[in-house]
């Protein structure tokens, strides 16, 4: 699979990342090498093989184990906001959306 500059720009938009023109050139080349390397997976015969998304599921657990849905104490508002870049009036402030 050959990857173009336009492909990289499209993926960057999906990933909410920005690259300078210079970064794009180097990045496109590295991206291509990595994709060429993973192409080898196409040599593997996967017909009839079930996917493994998660090993726990194969360890004899029927499903992930969830706790009972009971209300428990949670972080106080001040602590929840302590790491926020722009807290205000008990909320997280962001640039105007509409």
């Amino acid at each position: 699979m050959s990857i173009s500059r336009a492909d990289v720009l499209k993926i960057a938009e999906l990933a909410k990342l920005h690259f300078s023109d210079e970064e794009l050139v180097a990045f496109t080349a590295q991206f291509q090498r990595i994709l060429d390397y993973v192409e080898q997976l196409k040599q593997v015969n996967i017909e009839g093989i079930e996917p493994t998304s998660h090993v726990s599921l194969a360890q004899g657990f029927e499903r992930f184990i969830f706790r009972e849905d009971e209300v428990k104490p949670s972080l106080p508002v001040e602590e929840s906001l302590a790491n926020a870049p722009d807290p205000g009036e008990g909320h997280f402030r962001v640039p105007k959306v509409l």
């Binding site: 999906l14 390397y37 997976l41 093989i49 996917p51 998304s53 090993v55 302590a82």
Partner: protein, 484 residues
Amino acid sequence: MNLTCAFEIGEAVNHKKVSAVEVAESALARIEAVDSALRAFITVERERVLARAGEVDRRVASGESGMPLAGVPVAVKDNICTRNLRTTCGSRILESYIPPYSATAIERLERAGAVVIGKANCDEFAMGSSTENSAFQVTRNPYDLGRVAGGSSGGSAVAVASGMATLALGSETGGSVRQPASFCSVLGLKPTYGRISRYGLVAFASSLDNIGPIATNPRDMALLLSVIAGRDEHDSTSAPVPVPEYTAQVGMSVRGMRLGIPKEYFGEGLDPEVRSIIEAALSNAKSLGCELKEVSLPHTAYAIADYYIIAPAEASSNLARYDAVRYGFRVPDPQDLSEMYKRSRSIGFGAEVKRRIMIGTYALSSGYYEAYYGRAMRVRTLIKRDFEKAFETVDALLTPVSPTPAFKIGEKVDDPLAMYLSDIYTVTANLAGIPALSLPCGFAAEGLPVGLQIIGNQFQEGTVLRFAEAYFRGFPVTSPKLKV
């Protein structure tokens, strides 16, 4: 004071032969003396460490029992949350993040009397194999300051290897504890997936991530594992499997233990010197009374390619949370929401993290999902089955940890693929979810450490540690002098 054995420190502090504060002062003095050369720590808060050690001494004085790690200094990789102690993940985006809670593994360590001595350097978000991807500093190998510590848990491995901490926690997504342990001549364990709670371990690739302990000897490793392992209601993937008495298991005989030697781990690309050291280790294993037989894990060659679809795919999803809203770096005065996301993430993340987010986004994007991620999950099934088949006839597998000893700083930074290939023998255990240990077994001619990998079946950490202890006692490794 000698800081190499956690068992001894715990006993001495519990019997009031030495105080936890004195132990902490020794560790802090060692950090003061050598860390400017090694750069293993991102954060060390001296007053906090001494206050925590003082609390341990008060608990001992009040007669509290059940503190096997009383006063033991532990280095913690900086992607494991510590309440009110900065946790950066080696990233600018979390440069000033102060977690409001501690990881379950940290809670359990502190309950057992351990003292967190500092936060250890790592590749940004644990993405790397050399600790060169940290946004803050490059950690150096104590056996050759011009060489890498390995990674991503390089700071944790160096802290223990150089006597700045007795134990450490690292994390593993694809070899990130075992490879630096091998490069620095300490023990590093990747446990069975679900053995140790991931609560408070900053997520990279959730189906592969594990917290991994580091120690200087198998008994300490068994003790540390027994303290932090077990079910945790805060992690739905932590396993409801009882935690055995690992410390009792380590002393048992290995006579008649069946060890498989997977031929695919001894092929092209294995450094000849590493090969001869590992082959010598195999004959040592035989002389301990173990039965060796060749086995085959035919899908090994596809493991790196498989890993570099699955791990970035999960990472691209996990790292979407860095949106500059609730925590983390935000650019000043963004024009709108979209610009805030893009510019904050582009400045906050380093090159390797962005590369993996991009690969993962691509692999999951519409039209490519089945061809990349769907196929990779099926190949993962085949890699896992290879191990299941091997464990029908053997108790554990022996392999090299890494194809070469520690490489030079800067040698692979411009070639991501070459860097990825240094994990070729370790990522398989993460994909299969099984335990594997790196055990020091020799030194190459330039004085660089080489590790032997012992891979066990699911939840068979006890078997792995039992072999490690027998080998450790039977064939002690003589280390060259550290360069610090």
